[in-house]
Chain length 235, copies 2
DNA sequence: GTTTTCATGTAACCCGTTACATGATTCA
DNA sequence: TGAATCATGTAACGGGTTACATGAAAAC
């Protein structure tokens, strides 16, 4: 019922669709796995999870060790699950209704879907999205950006000369960034057009994860980073 | 006293430093003139102006017609200005204290200054900023981005193969964007290094506006948009 | 056995938007 | 004289963060 922000809700449902997780891990995935996603804080995530549960889209299950998603064949560890009264880690799992709701969100598009963060979120789950919807989103995004470019060009033309060199440079760089994204979208749209018919025409198929690996129509930039010896220099 | 968000406060002071304005116009400038600035709503702007006044950084003056910053020679229309008790447009002007406060903000740098929006705001006022500070900000921003790149690379290396093609593509594009900004910063820093000594070594000089026109060390990309026949295809 | 890291939660606050209310000025 | 735009405001809400409180598991 309560219409929690969309973006977080959407991402959570999407991630949980792939596999059940507890909040802590969910948050990490939110920050890294997905492309652009800003770091949501626990103060946002946990309450959100609660309302999703309240809506019947998730259920909380007792989970024990972090990496306890049975590695195939391995029966869910549920160690006697005798931890009756004890508070343990909570693993969130998508319910049938949750899944259904997510499908709905996936297929629905509106002006919101073209906005920066919203778009990134949508794109991140394109793997589960139907071809038609992908097209709508990509094209919507593109025209959104083109509008923006118009405004920038106009404002630039209007104010040129009266402006500081730095301000000008900032605007120039901003415009170029947008132009670059438009080109990116063009490529995507193009390859979406040719490589059509991929995955998910009808929203009933299972097996969400291993859709990767297939050759689909994506632009194919060099998908491998050059050697790059430097690794976990990060904390 | 109240530490209103920084960014809006900063931008307002900066814009008003160039010339007095009323709120309505201020907002437009915020949206367009500055590079990246998101559109603040009146609901944000006016209250903010109020507190800036309360802090003694601005004063409200009665202003009459919008374009009434007497264009030299042209008498301000001030139609009889008999509007004694009547509520008229309010023009905000920077006080001496306000100016001082802004200088202070300009010269202060902290981890905040490297964040996306904050950085854009700082950059937009580089024209009034001392060389040293500009360097700090540019370099701070750069290392901020490099950190981010590290994390992205790490996460990419960690999760590759387990990921959807689309998710991967999103990450790739995200990383490229960041890399691109780093290159931009490199250019800026470079030209900042060579073309040093420009404007504002001592914070007392007046004449804020017509600093433009001078040739400073900026990279000089083609400042004019290429022909580009396709124009207002939007709308 | 103590420190780290994992893990869950909550209350107070902050920044900003939306939607609304109001009025003055411009222009057809 | 009526519509559009300029111009100023405010109350209600929304979505998110920070800082805090708590505790279990792992690492040393």
């Amino acid at each position: 019922m309560s219409r929690r922000s969309g973006i977080l809700e959407f991402a959570v449902l999407g991630l949980l669709r792939e596999s059940p997780m507890h909040g802590y891990e969910l948050r990490k995935r939110l920050n890294t796995s997905l492309g652009i996603f800003r770091a949501f804080s626990y103060g946002t995530l946990y309450p959100c999870l609660k309302t999703l549960v309240a809506n019947g889209w998730l259920i909380e299950e007792p989970g024990n060790s972090p990496a306890d998603l049975p590695p195939a064949g391995g029966r869910a560890v549920t160690p006697a699950s005798s931890l009756a009264g004890r508070r343990a880690k909570i693993v969130y799992r998508l319910t049938a209704e949750g899944k259904e709701h997510f499908e709905e969100l996936l297929s629905h598009t509106g002006p919101d879907s073209w906005e920066d963060e919203h778009f990134a979120a949508r794109f991140a789950f394109f793997g589960q999205t139907e071809h038609e919807v992908r097209m709508r989103v990509l094209e919507g995004r593109r025209s959104r950006l083109e509008e923006r470019l118009e405004k920038m060009r106009a404002s630039l033309a209007r104010t040129r000369e009266r402006l500081d060199d730095y301000t000008l440079e900032l605007q120039r760089h901003g415009m170029e960034s947008v132009e670059r994204e438009v080109r990116w979208l063009n490529e995507l749209i193009e390859s979406e057009r040719s490589g059509r018919d991929q995955r998910r025409s009808s929203p009933g198929s299972e097996a969400p994860q291993n859709t990767a690996g297939e050759t689909d129509g994506l632009p194919r930039h060099r998908g491998d980073t050059p050697p790059d010896p430097s690794d976990d220099t990060s904390k």
